[in-house]
Symmetry: C2
Subunit: 347 residues, 2 copies
């Protein structure tokens, strides 16, 4: 039974609770902290986009097509579908002589209601470019343009989301290597954007991000790629998420001291390079909208040495005020004392 990591208070009463598990691991694979079950395979979903982007850089594709920091950050992103995100994915595809038709991620509306209303006002409907994964998919397509060699790009790329396509084999191999996991034996599902998602224990996901943050344990070209991706995201954190999104807010503040990435169904992965640690979180109930963010914020707050400003920012997100439609303060989400206590021992 995994412990309660987040209490949802309304007034002076705990209204709901979120259970979950958490692993902190160093780049040698030594376990620093475990809460709950860290051995059961977990689908990491979008939390491993940065590991899946390693071949984009290591293959030389990113350099060959002159990818910008924003484009690389967006290859690691679950973006909000804001106009700058749409333009960035479109721009990357244009460098390849391609357009949105090359993307196999499907379409959905942007995240924010104001953005949806603005699209309505412009008479627009969502395309694959608005999909939160469009940057990742544009990156897959870019990798595919190199793997295609002399073949026709469009023909080669078709079906790139399938597990056996050369693009996805490269991507999966990078994920397997970083996490030191045999994915041929792992549970497998289909992600929201149609690529495979493999079940990987939190312990191995945390190892993958310890390696991503330090380069230790990665091949030399993947270590270089990891450094390039971390630099790109730190330079353009808006492109990894969007306005008022936690990944963006935290990396705007902390730069390369932190790499963090949320995933669907209550997953978070992060690298803390200065400590040499990676961490991975999974909420039992799959709550990405609020619970896992509180846990991630509590982790960063406890595990990095922060300025007063930074500490206050993390405190706001690890004990998150809840306001109603009239702006009244009605409650809070709070990292539990059990979580705070366990993290405190590592401060």
């Amino acid at each position: 039974m995994n412990p309660v990591l987040v209490d949802v208070w309304r007034g002076e009463w705990v209204e709901s609770q979120h259970r979950g598990s958490l692993a902190v691991v160093d780049a040698d694979g030594a376990l620093v902290l475990a809460l709950g079950d860290i051995e059961r395979p977990v689908y990491p979903r979008s939390a491993v986009k940065a590991l899946q982007a390693l071949p984009l850089v290591a293959s030389g594709a990113a350099a060959r097509f002159g990818l910008s920091d924003a484009e690389l950050a967006q290859a690691c992103a679950s973006h909000s579908g804001e106009p700058a995100h749409v333009a960035t994915s479109a721009g990357l595809l244009a460098k390849l002589g391609l357009d949105a038709d090359a993307l196999e991620c499907g379409a959905h509306w942007p995240r924010a209601e104001t953005q949806i209303a603005a699209m309505g006002a412009r008479g627009e409907t969502p395309t694959a470019l608005h999909n939160n994964c469009s940057g990742k998919h544009a990156g897959f397509v870019c990798l595919g343009c190199v793997l295609a060699g002399e073949q026709d790009r469009r023909a080669f790329l078709r079906g790139y989301v399938e597990p056996e396509h050369p693009v996805m084999r490269e991507v999966t191999a990078a994920l397997a290597a970083a996490t030191a996991t045999d994915l041929s034996r792992a549970p497998v599902g289909t992600d929201g954007c149609s690529i495979p998602t493999y079940g990987i224990p939190l312990r191995q996901l945390a190892l993958g991000f310890a390696r991503f943050g330090t380069g230790q344990g990665l091949s030399a070209d993947h270590a270089d790629a990891a450094r390039r991706l971390r630099q790109a995201v730190a330079a353009e954190p808006f492109h990894v998420a969007g306005t008022n999104r936690l990944d963006t807010v935290l990396m705007q503040q902390l730069g390369e001291r932190l790499f963090c990435k949320v995933g669907a169904e209550g997953v978070y992965c992060a690298a803390l390079p200065e400590r040499g640690w990676g961490l991975a979180i999974k909420m039992d109930d799959g709550n990405t909208a609020r619970a896992v963010e509180v846990v991630l914020a509590a982790c960063v707050q406890a595990l990095l040495r922060l300025s007063e400003t930074e500490h206050a920012l993390l405190q706001r997100h690890s004990e998150l005020a809840q306001r109603n439609w009239n702006g009244r303060l009605v409650g809070r989400l709070a990292a539990t004392p059990a979580l705070r206590g366990a993290l405190g021992s590592l401060a």
Copy 2:
């Protein structure tokens, strides 16, 4: 520790799980079924709107102002903010000589992205009429117009969301009577729409809905009001929720055989008049978006004698297919064998 009631499958792997508790009670208060903790107070949130609407009818206010079935259904509703919902709340207020300015629920965008985009295309921004609670609040205001007597309506109504206002005292008294709970000793929080929400054990909430469905245990005027509200919702189920919403879909199919109402933070309450039972559900993690609906559907499927068509409808909602942005079948939400087994004993 409450049991797992819903498994979230992706491929052939359980990706997430939802725990919760459930009470089924008859109109005499006898416990029919308990799963998990049914004694801990739970904020019922919007799941008790129908009980809160009893004074609207019992006071004579609904008759005096000639409220329609749609307006009464909407007084019990968490609607989707579709144009017909907005028009219905506005129409009720117009009967009182009032408009949206009388509502103290706050504003938010409609539920569906297509509705938000359509508002954007029309250059509209959300008002209190779009708030999912606007019908309930219009009902409170209507009740207030009777309670005001000779006083100025607008002045009397001001602050009607506060616990000590005469309107809210009537509403709270109806809730306390139906659930046989002393709310002066209950935990209290502020709901999304700014009215108080009181912590009530699931056992007592289920009792309230057994009474609501049968009239037994209610005062004569509240029993009449309950019958009127059930008829109105069965006649106009679109107005209690909206397009493709579970409450609407189920009551469109089952009419007065079922009254059910979802609430925030993973709450559901329902009345099954032909069995004489009420039921109340709370998901530990507060998941309203998916988990509690699966549990409610499994309950209705097991506890009512259904036609083949009806059974198939409930089966679709108690084992709910999950599709991704490309429309691919990627998984399912499923009532757990433990839940099915416990309900099966009552079939």
